[in-house]
């Protein structure tokens, strides 16, 4: 009897950053990346990556939304009636999205103007709903929170890589800093990189590089 109790206590006190939980953060960065492996959230990855600054704000916004929605849904998971679980998830996600939108509008107005329409679309971002259904509904709040952070970062990582190349090749700058001008070179921006098609190309190259490193083979 007493051993059973001890076991339960032991289970509960599994450290937040145990090896298993650390994986929740590191896996989505590479072998389980939401954008390049699961191919979720592509639409916004194409839309907000012409410059690095908005891409970064978008990545942070999505990380906040995914992590906090995961956390809240995980707390509520045992009380949510299964018949209305999707709409409950949607309500929690939209709550956070509107919160983020309002905070950005109050504190970084210029970026909010650029991103407003995409922030609203986080609600429909497949990553958020995907993580809620796949992870938060069946796991404890702590790991769920980490899972949200991990997936947000995985998404953000790809966004930053794509935005880096698009801004560098398309506009000749990084975070608005004119790199080529500073080096004394005359660089005419590549217009293709500023169009969504440029992002498609770069996402494709990123997936290619990642798959050849990880040794991925298409299974039939």
């Amino acid at each position: 009897m007493s051993t059973e109790v001890a076991e339960v206590v032991e289970k509960k006190s599994e450290p937040l950053f145990s090896k298993k939980n650390r994986k929740l953060i590191t896996n989505p960065l590479d072998i389980d990346n939401p954008v390049t492996v699961q191919v979720l959230g592509i639409c916004s990855a194409l839309a907000v990556t012409t410059q690095m600054k908005p891409a970064m704000v978008m990545a942070i916004a999505l990380t906040v939304v995914t992590a906090s929605s995961n956390f809240i849904i995980s707390i509520m998971r045992n009380s949510i009636p299964s018949r209305i679980r999707i709409i409950v998830q949607l309500a929690v996600v939209s709550l956070w999205v509107i919160m983020v939108d309002q905070v950005l509008k109050a504190y970084v107005y210029d970026i909010w103007k650029q991103l407003s329409v995409f922030i609203g679309l986080i609600i429909t971002n497949c990553i958020v709903m995907g993580r809620l259904e796949a992870y938060a509904m069946g796991n404890k709040p702590g790991p769920s929170f980490l899972d949200g952070i991990g997936n947000g970062l995985g998404y953000g990582l790809i966004l930053m890589i794509v935005a880096f190349f698009r801004e560098l090749l398309g506009g000749g700058s990084i975070f608005g800093f004119k790199v080529f001008e500073a080096m004394g070179l005359d660089y005419k921006g590549n217009g293709l990189m500023l169009l969504p098609a440029g992002a498609c190309v770069i996402v494709g190259v990123v997936i290619w590089v990642q798959r050849s490193i990880n040794g991925y083979r298409e299974t039939h």
């Binding site: 839309a47 009380s79 018949r83 409950v88 309500a91 709550l95 309002q102 504190y107 107005y109 329409v117």
Partner: protein, 243 residues
């Protein structure tokens, strides 16, 4: 128990109330800051049409020194006791043109605060998907366009939304709205990449956004007509002053 209809209904109601409460609280708490941002943007938009605003310029100070806010009617007379911030362009747009109240931002000379150099005229209309608005600044001859800026609600990014970008707006600089004494306005053309440097009433178009361009053209023509009496009044007085 968790599947009973009563539980589901109560759960949904509870969730709705909690979410709504939190959002209402956030909205109220952040509103002052958001309003301040909107107001600052409005002032920046007015100023940016008549001067280059570098970084670190005190918008509030420059605005209060240089801009005189007035409201006029279609006859060009000043309406006392009204401020441009009281005027909702969208509401005025629904009235017939001669009943509209029009905000005007007169630009005072940097050296002599009593001398009106030129004016910034707000305009309003419809693009392809939703409303568009803008500010048009005229030179002291009240004919040549000194600068414009446009904003939009829902034009397509990369196409119609380009009206909000500087390279499109710069195309309007130096264009003229009068031919002799007749108002002809300025028209953005279909197609892009043409050189209209010699034609003072035409502006190079936006490829793929002809309908937005048409909206802009209608907006400008309609509002120049509303402002016509005011513009002409200032034209003649400024011409006389220059003689």
């Amino acid at each position: 128990m968790r599947q009973s209809n009563l539980y589901i209904i109560l759960y949904a109601m509870g969730l709705t109330v909690v979410c709504a409460g939190l959002l209402a609280f956030a909205s109220q708490a952040l509103k002052p800051r958001q309003d301040a941002n909107v107001e600052l943007e409005r002032k920046t938009n007015v100023l940016s049409t008549v001067m280059t605003l570098g970084e670190g310029v005190d918008i509030e100070k420059t605005y209060s020194e240089r801009i005189r806010e007035i409201v006029i009617d279609a006859e060009g007379n000043v309406v006392e006791g009204k401020k441009p911030t009281d005027i909702n362009l969208g509401v005025e747009y629904k009235k017939t043109p001669k009943d509209r109240l029009l905000p005007v931002f007169e630009v005072r000379s940097a050296t002599d605060p009593n001398k009106i150099e030129n004016a910034v005229l707000p305009v309003f209309g419809f693009g392809l998907w939703n409303t568009i608005a803008g500010n048009v600044a005229l030179e002291s001859d009240f004919n040549t366009i000194k600068g414009v800026n446009y904003s939009h609600v829902g034009e397509t990014p990369g196409l119609g939304a380009r009206i909000a970008s500087a390279d499109i707006q710069d195309r309007y600089k130096g264009k003229q709205i009068f031919e002799g004494d007749n108002l002809v306005s300025v028209d953005m053309q279909k197609g892009e990449g043409m050189d209209y440097a010699s034609d003072v009433h035409k502006v190079d178009g936006m490829s793929g956004a002809t309908l937005t361009a048409k909206g802009v053209n209608n907006m400008l023509r309609e509002y120049f007509q509303c402002y016509e009496k005011y513009i002409k009044k200032n034209r003649t007085s400024n011409q006389q002053a220059n003689l």
